[in-house]
Structure formats: C-alpha cells, structure tokens
Symmetry: C2
C-alpha cells in the first residue's frame, strides 16, 4: 500500500519535494477517527514514546525516591537541545541517584541547539554524554533500575528488567503484543519496540486520558503529562516544535517527536491520540503534518492555534532570510 | 506518476524508512540508457550544476584574467564544508578580483564541516559569508561579472547578465528552453532553473564529453572537469561524498550534489550523464542511489569501485558507533 503525500515543499511556482506518510488518530477505546496510509505496518516509535518509557520510572516510585522535581521529570521525557540548563538538569538527576555522566550509555554528541554547541566550543569545553539529546531519558532509566532494585550497568540491554518493563508498558497501552523480531536499537543504544501506527495512537490516547489503565499507571501518566505541560522547554528546547506547541497549549496537548519522522501527540480533553510516521524520516514534514492535524481537532476557540498554523505552513527562507518557498499540508490532513 | 522506492533504510529486521525518486541516465546524444520514475517533471538542480554555472566564468576568460589556479576553479564548482583552506581559497579568489567578503550575497552560515565550525567558535571568531558552502560559486559569479564587463553588485538577480548566461548555458547543454515560471530562488539567493531530469542528465553527458558543444564551451567544460578531478577536496570537503568518489576515480567521474536530494554525475569515458532527484530531498538517499548507479555503469576492473559500494550500502550507527541498520539500494538501481 502506497502512503499518500502528506506534505509538499514548494519553491517558487513548483513543488520541489514531497513527503509521504501514514497517520492514525484514535480515541481511548481504539476507535479510528482518522486513518491515512498504512497504519498496520509496524514502525519504530523512537524518541516519540519517551514519556511512555518514563512510566517505568514513575511507577517504580523513582520520582519520590530520588526527589526529582517536575522539570527533571520533563527532562526524562525529553529529546533536549543540550542547552546549559538541560545539561545541568540531567547532571542533577544523576547526582541524586549517585551516578555521574560516566554511567550514561547514550553516547556523546554536540548539542543539537547550535548556539549552545558553539558556546560550548567557545568555552574550550567538549561535548559529553550529558549533551546527548537522550541523556535525560538515560538518567531516568538508571534511576528506574535503582528504584526497581536491579543492577543498573546494563540498563540499555533489551533483556534488562527496565527495558522489559518498557516493553510491557507499550504492550499494555497499545493493547498488542510486540514480537521479538520487532525490536531495533535506537540511536542512543536502547531498544526501540516497533508497533503499528494505530496501536501507537491508541497508546497515546490512553496515556492522555488514563482510560482503562490501572490506577497507578493512570496516575503516573497524569504526573508525566503535568510535568511536560509545566516545563515544555525541558522536553525539547528553544524554538523547537514540541516546546513551542506545548508552551502555547499547555495541558491541553501532549506532543513528542522521534527520529525518522515519527511524531506522537494527544489531546486529553478530546480524548484523542495521534501517531504519524513520514516514510522518508523527515522531521520537517512530521512537524508540519502534526501541526495541521492538531489544529484540525482542537476546538476553534482555543488559544495556541495560531502557533500551530505557523508550524503547519512554515515559510522556507534562504540564508539572507528572504522567503523562497513553503511547506504545504495535503488537504487530507486539514479537511474534515 | 508515482516514483519508485530507490533506497530503503533498515533498522534491525524492519525497513524503517524509504526514499522514492527518479533517475535519468542518458548518453551525449540524449538516448535514454536508464529511466526510473518521472523524468519529465521539472526539478530545480540547485547546487548540482555549479560546475555548469562556472562555464560562464571560464568562457568569459575570467580564469586567465584573474589568474585563478586550478584549486580555486574547483572551489567555484564547490559546495564546500567551510574548512579553513576552503575559506582561505575563496578569500583569495575575491582578492584577485578586488572584492572582499562584503560583496558576497550568499548569506552567512557556520561551516557544514562540524569540526571546522567548532574550531572556529573555539578561536573566538564568528561565521562569515566566506563559510557559506556556496561562497566559491558566488566569488566566481563576481569574477564572471567583471570579466563580462557588467556591474557586479546585483549578480544574484535572475535578470543579471551572469544569471542570464547561466540560463543560456543550461538551455544549450540540456537542449531545451527553460520557461520563466520554472525559476526559483536557491538557498544562497541565486536563481535555480528547473529542468526535466533527462535534460539535466543530457547536460551532464554533454558537459562530460563536449560532444556537440561549441569549441570554447567544450574546452571550458574540460578545464572545469580537470580542476575538480585534480582538487576533489575543494569541491566538497573531508569525508564528503563528492570528494571521496572523485578522489577514488579522478577524471573517470564527475559528481556534484545539490540540496533537496539532487545529484548529478557523469562518466566521461562511457559518455554518460546521470541526474537523480529524491522526492523528499534526502541527501543520504541521493548519495546511496548515485553510488549504486555509478558502480553499475563503471567497468568492473576500475579501482575506486569499492568506495562506491561503501556509499551505496552505508551502515547506520548509533552514537556509540554500533551498527544498528543500513541503507539498501533498490534492485532497479543495481541490476542491469
């Protein structure tokens, strides 16, 4: 099945590039509200489920045990830009559990936030594992391992109790078993468990509503959503899609990006979960498509809609900041 | 017409992402050797035709007039990484024509080559227009304007004699008129003239062979190809696709990347021109697809083939350098 074109990139009068993909919007009972393209094919959710992975930490009592503050909880759910306060926050999480950056298995890269990378270089310092966009999640896994009283050193292994607990959470929220052959290794070395897009959207709808979840899981989800809504800068960073959208809409939305064009979101008040995957992995298309979708399902009177429109049709500029084109969402995304 | 999948990205046992696109391989008479997907749709060639744009400079006598050396000629054809010797070379070109970086209209960005960007920041300096990957081309346009005895300041305007000469070159090499509505603005502010992919491939085949060209144009093309073959590092930079492929195969190949998933190439000895465009604009897919194509049409005994195989099936690694997947070219690219 060929997935439809979701986003076109225009330059001058011509469509220069096009992005195909699949979209699932479901309610917390799993009823399909919108399905575009192949939503049965298993896709790796990558970082788009970091808040769901964090349920393991919260349910194990790790937040209380280590006295994590809400902004630190948001960092555990983050793909952060490596800005100084992100890095300091992750260092604090590690310190509370008696770890340091040497325990992180995510690998090292320079901050995604370019001004922070340049400032780091200017200071004479070098990148560390703390600057890896996944360092908060990894700090959370280490805390989870301790809270679960299991050996922390091998926490990235797919057979480690923390990762097995993550798998069980995804299976519970998505109401479907994940076969062993659908496990890949993420860029930060932890397992990523592939799920059909409609199962992923269901997981987000249940995460957002708590509907049908065990009370401890529903409470943990509520806590994670509240932390992200209160500290959206900690979930991504300056100017980033997830941060801007959650800053504008706060607890009325949850949104989280993943690598290779995956985006997950939820509108708790509408009881809806969203999952989309751009075939080619392009972040620009995933963001524009999700912005268009959220604008479609949000009530017309909500503040924060203007922000979504800006992300749904971003202007493409050259290096001198002149407009040279734009992204355009397909009618299938925007029209009821 | 739906373009076929050209490149699949695997992670673990699953195909995680896929890139569609179109491919044209033609000889210097325009005979189609390979056509995949829609090769009639006009596409913006972007930086993939920088060496063809440079014909205007060479034909106007600008290389002799300003005493440009071969490595500087290669920089005029470059999308360079902003490494120190790239920047110094562009500054030299400008100085020879009495300009400085203030005359460049390409805009400023930090070096694409990350170690060079970080080193620049570490030195306390900031990025300038010289670091823009297109600065060599822009320096060449300024020199061309002077050699053509026209006012240089507005050289990025589509109506400027230099840009009109570029259009005429592309129309001549591709043997087709370019309608006004098929002109877009590139990321570096110069016009980009859209052409059907098979016309672009024809332009490359004629550029590579000189077949049917006016003697001055054929000689200029030969000079540009020789400069790029002799100084492939100047055309892109450390570790980059164009540099590595031309370093391995020297004058037996010409290859040049462009933004939004365009790649052009030629095999002069085989008399073939190549043009491909990845629908979604992904560079990783364009490089893998072109590597597979070049390996297919190069004689089996050539050195430098191993390098192409490496680019055709690159291993995807996580931040700890473990293999987590690979890119895989479609059989349509690799099988005769």
């Amino acid at each position: 099945m060929d997935n439809p074109v979701l986003i076109e990139a225009l330059r001058g009068a011509l469509v220069e590039s096009r992005h195909r993909g699949a979209v699932a919007v479901v309610d917390a009972d799993g009823a399909r509200v919108l399905a575009l393209g192949d939503i049965e094919r298993p896709i790796y959710p990558r970082s788009a489920v970091k808040a769901l992975q964090a349920l393991v930490l919260v349910e194990a009592g790790g937040v209380e045990h280590f006295g994590l503050r809400d902004e630190e909880v948001a960092l555990v759910c983050a793909s952060h830009g490596g800005e100084p306060d992100h890095v300091a926050g992750v260092a604090r999480i590690l310190a509370r559990a008696g770890f340091d950056q040497g325990s992180l298995m995510c690998g090292t890269h320079w901050p995604l936030h370019q001004p922070s990378a340049l400032a780091l270089a200017r200071s004479g310092a070098a990148a560390t594992a703390l600057h890896n966009n996944c360092s908060g999640k990894h700090a959370g896994f280490l805390c989870a391992a301790c809270a679960m009283r299991c050996e922390p050193a091998t926490y990235v292994d797919a057979r480690h109790p923390v990762q097995q607990a993550v798998k069980a959470v995804l299976e519970d929220l998505g109401r479907a078993a994940i076969p062993d052959k659908h496990v890949g290794v993420d860029g930060c070395s932890v397992p990523t468990f592939a799920m059909p897009l409609h199962r992923l959207a269901l997981a987000l709808a249940r995460f957002a509503t708590g509907q049908g979840l065990a009370p401890i899981r529903a409470a943990a989800a509520r806590r994670l959503r509240a932390a992200c809504a209160a500290y959206p800068w900690h979930v991504a960073g300056t100017g980033r899609f997830c941060t801007e959208v959650m800053t504008g809409l706060r607890e009325r939305v949850f949104v989280k990006t993943g690598a290779e064009g995956v985006l997950c979101a939820a509108l708790p008040e509408q009881g809806l979960g969203f999952a989309l995957k751009i075939d080619d992995g392009a972040t620009r298309a995933a963001e524009a498509a999700m912005a268009a979708l959220l604008a479609r399902y949000l009530p017309r009177e909500h503040d924060g809609r203007a922000e979504l429109e800006r992300f749904a049709r971003p202007v493409l500029r050259n290096w001198r900041r002149s407009a040279v084109g734009e992204l355009r969402p397909a009618p299938a995304l925007t029209e009821p």
